[in-house]
């Protein structure tokens, strides 16, 4: 599944950049995130509870900031597992100067979901993913623009 979008954030680029590469900050905006453990500068581990339809699973997700070009571009790879389900994702984000001193974020993500979440939740998965992405950006905007 591929997702992509553009978000305008009314905050300067350096502030946005600092936010998105800090697991503890950006992690708070991930829906269902219960804990975040920073392993080193580019690796961290999150625990998140995800529900699709009648199925819910607690994922342990290992993330790696695979490419970081400050303050322009970040590539994040994630591998998460829950009992009977797994997720593998690559997300890319590009920042550019936006209108009125703000920042424009172009992002795309390629997500492969495997196991019972994909199998039993197939009908609902895209809608749920879109909702979760929406929640993430709403949270980021509101935190950064505050």
């Amino acid at each position: 599944m591929k997702f992509a979008g553009t978000v305008d954030i009314a905050a300067p680029r350096d502030k946005v950049w600092a936010f998105v590469i800090d697991p503890n900050q950006v992690g708070q905006c991930g829906p269902g995130v219960e804990s975040i453990e920073v392993i080193d500068a580019t690796h961290f581990k999150a625990t998140a509870k995800v529900g699709i339809g009648f199925i819910s699973a607690r994922f342990v997700v290992n993330m790696e900031m695979a490419e970081l070009v400050a303050p322009d571009r970040a590539l994040i790879k994630a591998h998460g597992q829950a009992p009977g389900s797994a997720v593998d994702a690559t997300a890319e984000m590009t920042l550019s100067d936006g209108p009125a001193g703000g920042t424009t974020m172009d992002w795309s993500a390629d997500v492969a979901i495997a196991g019972s979440l994909a199998s039993l939740g197939a009908r609902l998965i895209e809608g749920t993913a879109n909702k979760m992405i929406g929640q993430t950006f709403t949270c980021m905007k509101s935190t950064l623009e505050a």
Binding site: P83, G84, A86, A114, L117, A118, L120
Partner: protein
Amino acid sequence: RSPYAHATIKGIDASEALKVPGVLAVVTGKDLEGYKLHWMPTLAGDMQMVLPTDTVMYQSQEVAAVIASSKYAAADGAAAVLVDYEPLEVIVDPHRALDEGAMVLRPDRGPDKQTNRIWHWESGDRAAADAAMEASEVRVTEDIYIPRIHVASIETCGCVADWDPVRQQLTLHITSQAPHAIRTVLALVAAGAGLPISEQNIRVKTHDIGGGFGGKVPVYPGYVLAVAASFLIGKPVKWIEDRSENLQADSFARDYHITAELGATKDGKIQSLKVKTIADHGYSDAAADPSKFPAGLFNVITGSYDFDKAFVEVDGVYTNKPPGGVAYRCSFRVTEAVHAIERMVDILAHEIGKDPAQLRMENFIRKDQFPYKTPTGWEYDSGDYAPALQKALDMIDYAGLRKEQLEKRERGELMGIGISSFTEIVGAGPSHDFDILGLKMFDSCEIRVHPTGKVLARIGVQTQGQGHETTFAQIIAEELGFPVGDIKIEYGDTDTAPYGLGTYASRSTPVAGAAAAMASRKIKEKARHLAAHLLEASADDLEWTNGRWSVKGSPDRFKTIQEIAFAAYTNHPQGMEAGLEAVNYYDPPNLTFPFGSYICVVDIDKATGVVSVRRFVAVDDCGNIINPMIVDGQIHGGLTMGLAPALYEAITYDENGNNLAGTFMDYLLPTALETPAWELEKTVTPSPHHPIGAKGVGESATVGAPPAIANAVVNALWHLGVRNIDIPITPQKVWAILHDKGIA
């Protein structure tokens, strides 16, 4: 269970699971490897994993088994098992599996088998069929896919394994269609593992089964794990699937990619048939097909028609899907064959502008041609196809319907009429050709007549709700004159029932039913000698009528079977063994070939693409009928199970091999709301070789119904340029076509 359809297992950490209260043990493939129990044979002679040691082969495959004191503890324990996977390339499409350089999914097979082609099988004369096809005036070709479906019996698969360490006895309570075969496989597996469980100490009990339909013939990893777990902890261990596990991981059926070509004269005399098929078996061939027939009896594909030449070839292929290839209420791949031939004959009729009923009438094998040898080698025992079709045409007022259809088409309404004139092939089978894992496909009946004239009969086949208790009691009652209520039928306990191969492929009545008749006849013969002794007459001077032996010419001098039974224990002659018992292991001389003609009328909603079955007439011929109500019940259920794949059911996978039909929300079973009122009739053409002329009927309707429905839908849309729609014909598919044609 594995989230991935194909992955390397880098490690399994069960330490957290073992801390869950109630969890007694966690078993992995590595644990089983020590006992050589990590792989087991399938009934098709392939190998299947009990638990994987290093590679998972399909999404939802068992990876570790948690043994716990309650199902909740087991579920918590399973969730706490940490497995480290490295995903591998996934092969979902069987065509891709055969590509040059495709990843070999089963490297465990021998060095000469490093390919995803499991086997190649062919039947008929390729050169002759090619030549005949070349010479045909009209040739029609079509790709027909019969999708993967699931039996979805109401009761999922499960068992309770009870190893008694004191008596060294294993009792397996199991929902199986073939208890004796299960016992033998267990004994062989245990011997291979060096476990002290030998066949006389294994008792398999099946009790009542909540639906079988072919899905409860195979041996599943859960059975072996339950036995191993009971052996490990010395207590009874239960394994039962939940609904999603059942739909995702149990043996599937169908999944045949068929390309068929039919040759005929321009006025519609059919001559030749060529069929090439790819059979998707998932990662292991776990079909229950007889050894010599890896594609089952698929070469019955010449159907009810007098073909001059035919050639059929099938390639079995591995993919990253659950193993299987079971016969879902179908005698070994006959549904696939019948669907293909009935679709092809209909396409030919439409192509040359001939009425499909007329084309069938002109091409049927005639009554005087039986026994009829097909170009693929079968000998049809008996048949009379034209009267069955005529009866169906009359019942439904075919001419009137065609007139209505023309009128409606003028008005732009979509109505279609579809016919299926199928020939089934059931009753496997003669021992010279039929075995499963070497076990010949005879079946058995043992009859004991008690002194008071009451009867206990045990059979080697296994009811799943189709009324063996009634049918077999009636066979014995008919042969021996006992009231049906005086006969008790037992099955499904391997300690008491005679050895048999079980119930599937419509084989109970053709094989064990014949055994019941033959055992009865042995008893009748002994009764004749007992009667002769009691009547002080010569055995040669006695005649049998209505449950009594009487002296020829003196009908008032007789002994009833009940009187004879009493004498067998109280007054038997010197030199004769006491008692009145017999057993028969029946080896059928041929298969039986039930047939029928079905006609379906559908209306299609132009706005939504919804297909409604308005009427469905089914004329069946299953030879002599033992119990009409049971036969009608079988046909009702079978028709509904034929409607299901025609319009609703299919197991599909996404490109990563995730099963997309793991719930009844996604895998649509027809309910009473979708099911039309079936209109049934019969013709009777007895089997000449069966002791009571019966042919079997459990699967005719499942086999015959789908093409009648598909033919009706295509008939409704042919004038729009539609040649074929693969089943299930969902509203989405029809709507897309109508939308494409500018109608919806």
